[in-house]
Symmetry: D2
Subunit: 267 residues, 4 copies
């Protein structure tokens, strides 16, 4: 039959961010909604047993599993910027991705993607040397891994240069500046809380590749995967509403890389 092919989009969420006796976010419920799980690897959050359980639950829910490496800063949850040499970033990412890859293997899962966490994600988005270190690390562990980053970021550029597949990530619940960056938290329009508006923005980003900035301009964005936040109140309900809205509009929510087509590229 003629007609447009189905548009695929991924919904990703940071998961497994507990540590020891601590828990963070409704992981089990989120894993029933998202298509990709970014699993913390023990540095900013996560411990070996939580990693393993999270991978197993993701597998049971049909979500793709990716690594979510961060700075070695548990008390700051990896959100504090640090001046780390690129070589050290490379090594610590190899370490974390390798640890999770082994845990995934133990659960019969192959890692699909890598998304850096918190301050590492933000610093690598704008610092070419860190972005290249991140890409080198991912390529060293497994050249099939998809590297996730902000559209226009150094991470995507470095990933492509390293021969990796990349995925462009958008945030439906965050405001954007006219230059495509996220509006700083605390500023006007930084957070979008109305679920209907979140869904509307998500559709505009996925279907038409654009978002309206807080200052009114239309900004072009590529939306391979939509990030939902697991640690806000009502996170699981919001994520479910977003998924329903996307599917109601005829989109297919699926991991960045379909298991049956490992070489395919949505980035």
């Amino acid at each position: 039959m003629e007609g447009a092919a189905t548009i695929h989009v991924d919904i990703n969420c940071d998961l497994g961010e507990g540590f020891g006796v601590y828990r963070l976010g409704p992981d089990e419920r989120l894993l029933k909604v998202v298509s990709s799980a970014n699993v913390a690897c023990g540095f900013h959050a996560g411990d070996p047993s939580i990693m393993r359980r999270t991978v197993g639950t993701a597998r049971d829910c049909g979500a793709a599993v990716g690594a979510h490496p961060g700075y070695l800063d548990l008390v700051g949850f990896g959100r504090r910027e640090m001046r780390v040499a690129p070589d050290e970033v490379e090594d610590m990412v190899i370490y974390q991705v390798g640890a999770l890859a082994a845990m995934a293997r133990a659960e019969g899962v192959r890692l699909a993607h890598v998304k850096a966490h918190g301050a590492l994600y933000n610093q690598a988005a704008r610092d070419p040397a860190l972005a290249e270190a991140l890409a080198r690390a991912v390529a060293a562990v497994d050249r099939e891994l998809i590297l996730v980053g902000l559209p226009g970021s150094e991470i995507l550029r470095a990933g492509l240069a390293a021969g990796l597949q990349v995925a462009s990530e958008v945030f439906a619940d965050r405001g954007y500046l006219a230059d495509g960056r996220l509006a700083p938290r605390g500023g006007p329009g930084a957070l979008v809380t109305d679920p209907v508006e979140v869904a509307r923005r998500a559709l505009l980003m996925v279907q038409e590749g654009k978002v309206v900035a807080v200052t009114g301009e239309e900004v072009a964005v590529k939306a391979d995967t939509i990030c939902v936040h697991g640690d806000s109140p009502g996170a699981a309900e919001s994520a479910a509403a977003l998924r329903s809205a996307l599917e109601g509009a005829g989109l297919e929510v699926a991991p960045m890389r379909a298991p049956a087509a490992p070489a395919g590229g949505d980035a």
Copy 2:
């Protein structure tokens, strides 16, 4: 052709046991002497960058690389016994071995073996549940890995039961009890310091499969690999002397598994 086949024996040493700015032992010199390196994996010692450098140096020196996982106890160097549930031991070993395996891959090396460190090694030697957890972890990461343990220990038993190759480890510079266990440190004959005597004992263990206990009895031991200690004064010189003595007696010092025969078993 007539004549006995060459006897192979491995010399292993714990390496890469620094952390951050700290260094422990003359790694570069030891790596020129030993045939197998047990590389610390970040829990009792080691950090990602030290792990990577150690793997690279081992590769350049022709030494086989193995993982040396331990308890998460940096301040105690993994030497303090802990009551850790077997499932947690399994997960933390998967984590550490996986992290090192990725680092090895980044350096073009495939891990050859796993030897637990310190208190984990000692507890798993006598506790079947811990030994089985250790063996399950190793098998989950890579079924080709050789599991190293004391002769007669639960580690070797559990490794064989899990379908792994195992290697029996001896200590030429330590005294033995009549039942085959190591003489407790601090007791009479616990340490052998004379290099000539160390070499003599090593040869007896490798060539004849026996050692003389501190109480005079002959004890049967299987010696696939001889452990040398890297943190004692003169460690590199002692290790070199031991290797010379072994080679002088016609033995071949080589990794537990020769690179060209990955499926071979010396255990």
Copy 3:
């Protein structure tokens, strides 16, 4: 004047057991009910900022503040037994109590007591060398600190021998064995969940100095302070019910040491 003097009893609870972004237990609500707060000191839980907030809230609620030192085992929450040398236990307790004492000073509070956490508490209860190390540490920091322990434990014995005031701790929601020890978790009668029964047991322990063992015998216990658990569901409500029952029976719930009488001893 005729008439019985008012009986005082303390209610203590472990608090401030979050870390970084993690939270554990309804601290604010519990602090309105208990008379003594055992504040985690950063080793098994707690970080400097959480410690400070917890001390400040306890002060505002009129609760006495004590230190709750534990093993350096965040991932195991200090609940895993470890073989630590007594000298190391002494030093790590001085470190933790000193850190919290400084935090308390910054908030205008003087530490009142010390109660070891988890595995350290349990091991020191039965091991004289650890108990003496704990008592030496407390005495080294401040000889006015009250040392809390199980009735009949090595901790109380060592505290008295070191010239410290001690407080005998009971658990109204736990079953007891005929020898005065707690019934092992998982066994019959180990947990008492009915609030009415918990209050009844508490009154019997405080007013008559006895508890009925799971096997029916009456066991003598000294009850200077009753521990309530902050991490069970409904913890704040249970604690409030217990306090109401105690006060309804004419007892005064107050810290182990009244601020106005620092040299007084209820132990």
Copy 4:
């Protein structure tokens, strides 16, 4: 009698920077030469037992003991700049100084000074908010503590504003820029290695309050205390040579605050 009063100057050194089995620097020999020990407090280096031993040895050698708090970054030795909120800096400094103060009390010593370590020292030198957080922390623990910082730094300014005594620190083995800052490592003249030249520079700084910049200008510096580095090769010998040169020129090498005159101010 008329005539110049004896000039006092302090020599300080970072000490106790090992961790667990690791050692850094010849502490015992350095403690025979310096007059003030900056003792690591467990975050960037140091553990409770090393802290205690270092304090005890310093006491036996007659050196004053100060706290050397740093970022919680053992793998980076506290040298990596981090973006930490001022309130968190304040709390983590209270924690560390309090822990060492308790350890000192256990060894019969009262802390004399506080000098921040590494990246915290550098960032607080130029960031008023961090410097004020540092000064608040020190004042909260003990108002008699001397706060050490670079001449002209925000640390000294904030310390004075908080009512603390401050001490101005110079580096005889480092080059200076014309604006009084240290010449960046790696640049021309950044390091002075000739012991005779180091001593000459130290005398000029202490006696005449000036140093010659790498570009030739004379720069005014206040020299209450001279820092010697413990981790360079020959550190103990260099420090001894410096002390000899200072004493040979008639200066008295003594702690920043003489034990007999706790209210005295050399800052």
